[in-house]
Amino acid sequence: MSNSTNLPEPTETGRAGHYYSYGIPYLPIDNYPGKLIAIEGTDGVGRSTQIRLLREWLEVQGYGVIETGWTRSELMQPTIEVAKGSNTLNKLTFVLLYATDFADRLEKEIIPALKAGFIVLSDRYIFTALARAGVRGVDRAWVRNLYGFGISPHLVFYLRIDEKTLIRRVLQSRGMDYWESGMDLKLGDDIYESFRAYQRALLKEYTSMSEEFGFRVLDARRKVEVIQDELRRQIAAFLAESDVPAAAAVRAE
């Protein structure tokens, strides 16, 4: 390894595959073989379809794949559902409940999978939480510290759509609900106006995070196959230069 520059030795903190900040001291991350790939984006960008196709493609090549999704932890899912229904959440408890869910999945699913050499496909990641917290005016530094125990993904794809497309897709799929309309923000009694203002603010938050977290931005208004091809091309390139050989490639030799 050549290191002729005078630059200070980069710390592990914040690098892909490592903790963003303080981390979890009792779970030191030590060059785990697995890879963490996050697919981010608002509702209606087709994240789950893309993940399903990616999984299929990766497994055919012989990669072990594990999926994880937002609020899917065994510990927290019932509580989050109840809390969302009761309207007693405030912006801090809202953020903290999701962080608890994330911690549970991180320790019980993501870290063990990375240790065992799986490719972890994450349907949404901490950026969803940061965006929602940002829109609700939660202190930026505080929420970033809170998620400092998160692991920086190797790749983050942000599936981006414009406000108009977003609104139409959400209305078509499951309609507006209280939280996705940001009604807790009391932007007004008109649910459509609130919904629009909320989704616009969310998009702005994602855009502002693109550079901060190195998002690979994909235009999600295109056809499913076109987006999938792009994802596969970028993931294949990444895996080729990292140390995870595909089983298919090994067999071909």
Binding site: S21, Y22, G23, I24, P25, Y26, E74, L75, M76, P78, T79, V82, A83, T88, L89, N90, L92, T93, L96, L97, A99, T100, A103, D104, L106, E107, K108, D139, W142, N145, L146, G148, F149
Partner: protein, 214 residues
Amino acid sequence: MEGIDGSGKTTQLGLLAKWLSAAGHPVFMTEWNSSALVKAATKTGKKKNALTPMTFSLLHATDFADRLLYNIVPPLKAGMIVLADRYSYTAFARDAARGVDRRWVRELYSFATKPDLAVYFRVPIDVSVDRLLARRVKLKFYEAGLDMGWSTNAVESFRMFQGKVLDEYDRLVEEYGLSVVNASGSITEQQRLLRKLVSQHLEIENHEQLDESA
């Protein structure tokens, strides 16, 4: 009011509340980990012993944020005296004893209102264990630190875990200027000291009010 299990802080808090109420001060009590919001998750987690130090920490922070909003800030705004049975220092001590990053927990609780007075009931581990066993209290899984797997014997584990918690509290005394009460002393002796601490504080507040009106 801070201190490990068996330090007697709850007894002291009760006596203090009686005294304050009798003197005409409106009092509001709030207890660590008592919000309905996280009760289900905490219960599930505890029953299945499924909580990790991080989720344990975050659930308690969620509980705290909920109580801050509903049970701490409104009574303070209404001019009441809020008596908290444990506060953020409990999290700092316990979570650090479980291996959570100290800086992280402190920043996590940076949204907390700084208490006007924080009292720490310091008790040697032997006294605490004797008191709990004398009351035939069954040591709880997480309170005894059995989740850490240091010992399968509850009393032994309690000593090891709460010993570490005591070390953390000692750090906090200096860092946050907690007022220390020797909790090995008699109940009345401790209560006398506690009332003295509190009344000093109330006097200061009265002076401030007089100054403002002058």
